[in-house]
């Protein structure tokens, strides 16, 4: 590991931990939430804040430790931001098509596919 300013180290570390945390929470959500539609919300966390934090940590780390701009990572997040909603939409449609079970508390009806 290259030498980093202590403040930078703290920031990078915190970002990393945040990333890990949100990823883990997303996964816990995937396990714990009652029905498919609820679970569909879990990965958005992993995607957005989880990977987002890790990516920013990485960019900061490399930019600060080498002194050269390191920004490629942002494309990964950008790509995930672009595509994750589509995946979610598609999965929801598939679930509605298959008429998967919903938790009893759910208000409203899914659409027929």
């Amino acid at each position: 590991m290259g030498s980093l300013h202590p403040v930078a180290e703290w920031i990078v570390s915190l970002l990393l931990l945040a990333g890990g945390f949100f990823t883990l929470v997303g996964a816990i959500g995937l396990v714990r939430l009652p029905d498919f539609y609820a679970r569909l919300h879990g990965p958005t966390k992993a995607t957005t804040l989880g990977v987002g934090s890790v990516v920013i940590a990485s960019m900061l780390y490399f930019t600060l430790s080498t002194g050269e701009i390191a920004i490629t990572e942002i494309l990964i997040t950008a790509f995930l931001f672009l595509t994750a909603p589509v995946s979610a939409n598609f999965l929801a449609k598939a679930a509605m098509h298959l008429n998967v079970e919903r938790s009893e508390e759910t208000r409203g009806q899914p659409w027929e596919q």
């Binding site: 494309l75 790509f79 939409n89 449609k93 098509h97």
Partner: protein
Amino acid sequence: MTLSLVVLLPFLGAIAAPLFAQAGRTAIAIASSVPALLALATLFPMWSTLAEGGAIVQTLEWLPQLGINFSFRLDGLSLMFALLILLIGLLIILYARYYLKPSENIGKFYAMLLCFMGSMLGIVLSSNLLLMMVFWELTSLTSFLLISFWNHKQDARRGARMALAITGGGGLALLAGILLIGRIVGSFELDVVLAAGDQIKAHALYPYALTLVLLGAFTKSAQFPFHFWLPHAMQAPTPVSAYLHSATMVKAGIFLMARLYPALAGTEQWFFMVSFTGMATLLIGAYVALFKHDLKGLLAYSTVSHLGLITLLLGMGTKLAAVAALFHIINHAIFKASLFMAAGIIDHETGSRDMRQINGLWHFMPHTATLAMVAAASMAGVPLLNGFLSKEMFFAEALSLNLPGIWAWVPPIVATLAGIFAVAYSARFIHDVFFNGAPRNLPIYPPHEPPRYMKIPVEILVVACILVGVFPAFSVGPLLQAAASATLGGEVPDYGLAVFHGFNLPLMMSLAAFVGGLLMYSQRHKLFEFHARFREIDEKAVFEAVVSWVVERARSLTALLENGSLQRYATLLVLSAVVVALAPLWGMTLIGSDGLTPIDWPTAIGAAILIFCTFATVYIRRERLTSLIMLSVVGLFVSLTFARLSAPDLAMTQISVEVVTIVLLMLALFYLPSWTPSEDSKARHVRDLTLAGVAGLGMAAVTLAMLTSPFSSISDYFIENSKPGGGGTNVVNVILVDFRGFDTLGEITVLAIAALGIYAMLRNRELQAPSTDGQGHPWAFDAHPTMLKQMSRPLLPLALMVSAYIFLRGHNLPGGGFIAGLITAIALLIQYIASGNHWTQARVNLRYHNVLALGLFFATVAGAASLMFDYPFLTSTFTYLTWPVVGKFEVASALVFDLGVYLTVVGATLLALVSLGKLTPTGRPMSRTEARQES
């Protein structure tokens, strides 16, 4: 090479003869006789050399490695046979001219006959045993074709096949025998072999060699128990029977025994095998002949019997017996050929060969009858005819055999008994055909004499019978002397070729045979009744039954082994590999000297997930989609493994390929059932689990041993030369496009071919698409949801950008043409998924065939550029350019090669996927609106 000319002439004639087919039967017969006449003319001047017991040997090298040469030898023995072949051959040619109908394919007949003649001449004139073998089998083949000349008849076909199987098969045994002799002697040249008789007989391999050679001889000469093919070969046209089955081919076996007499004869084994076989054949043939109602059948069995007689004589091992054998060869050929021809005339003129129908022909064709009766008398051994002389010699030899005790009686008794039968069947031939009342139900009635010229061959032969019978010494004496000398290897014993040797024991035996034979014939009705009690065996039917049985057994055995079960074949394959690999690995040290390295937790968890999901893929395999999802996880973690273990290029390739594979599998899953039925037996599961388990454990053990053992490789070279020699810092990529660019060329060719093959395989195929999914849900209507469609639009340029980036950096950083190609392909694939085949194809405006071909073109051109500078194919070059703004950058020819890779990947991947996608039945509703309109 005059001798080779003798052999060659008939073959040349065989090519020429059919050319005369248009000119009529006479023309073709004349044309066919020319080669024989020329051959005779060639042989004639050589007689002077042979008369003194010499031999002419002419050799031309052919295949010295094999010991096979074009070497020919003319001595007394071969001359005797050559004359028989040529002279009787000429008569047959003449005879066949009248025998065959104009409507028959006479050109083919003469061609084959001449081929046969050439082959026979080859046998008798060869001075190299292997060369002789060549001609030996050629006679089997040509006789097969001649016997089956009337191949519309089932009997003819079967008879021919049986003859071929027996004689051809015997020929293979003979081949083995000859090869053994060659081993013993070190040469296949007859001179050497004949001179090495003592060496051969003393050799450990002698019993095998002798047995094999005799197998060949016996089968060819229809010796018991192989005699049965000969009577069935009588389905041949009569000229063929007369030629092959009396005078020539069946004598080839006899000839062989005579030829190898100095080399092989004179041992106990020879004596027992040859004489006993001969004796059995002599008796059985003679016995059966009497009961044959078929004229040719009688003659055929008579031939069998006489062949046995000659064999017996050769087996006796005495020189006088050998001379008698030779003498009888000549005599039998003469009278039997004439008898066959006479039988053919009768058949020709009456339309029948059944002696129960044919009676009293004396009345209708007295001339032919006379000829036939003289010949038959000769067969019976009537004095003043040639048959008598050799038979007397035979009786004398039978008496002179020095067998111990009561065995001494056996040969004379057998000989006399055979003589009795011979007289009886000869008497039947005369009486039953030419007398015995009037003809019954003849197809052609009334019969009359045949055309004048058809009888000439018979007349000539009958005259010969008498000539030899009355003036033996004058007519055949010199020839016999020369032949005997050649057979016996020089010393010829004193034998008297007189008509009358005084009242001695042999004459008594002749007399007894004569009287006994006539008596037997007079009592024939009782005998026939007796014989009729035994069920007659049709050997042909037996042969056919045996062949059918073998075919059926073979078929069921084949079906048992080659049962069309992939599971079995695959099991065998895996099992083979496991078995052969396990042996050397057994007891191998599992952990080598490098030892183990510790593992960190995240890696351990990754490994656990990988292993778990692999098992899950198997465990859940019957639920196909779930299994597929599990497989995706495995693929993802394999990619992570590559990343974890320093292989970014592999990680990228793996993840891209994996996704395309999953898409492919899903395309397939649409048409395949979504469930796998449970159908394998428990035993099979256990077996497969065991096999897979052993394979898995073995691989794990090998991996462990491999990973922990020290290692050095040629790779240092790549690392050192990648930058200076290949112009790139990504060593893997430099290996792919430069050091081992040829592998990559092959690899993209594979990809291109696979796509073409897939395209070809699916073209014009209709697949039944299920209307519901595995759980019975009907498919949704919405084919192209808005969000995906909208998102896919900006995705394409973005992905192309990424693709370009991955492509350009590949030489120095992870990436390259292959991965870039897959990204491009996937970017387009998303368009297909999002907007459909039709929409996308309209915008792509490319034939993917051309793209992949262009890729191969670029790769080839990039590789071939170096040829212009006389550097090898695929030699790359690179240079650094400096441009304003851009700065210093690298230009590498390998990039063009990589462009080829890129294009091939794009073309191939899309061609394959889109071909599959095109299978989807058209007309499925694409939206709810459409669906509503439908209903």
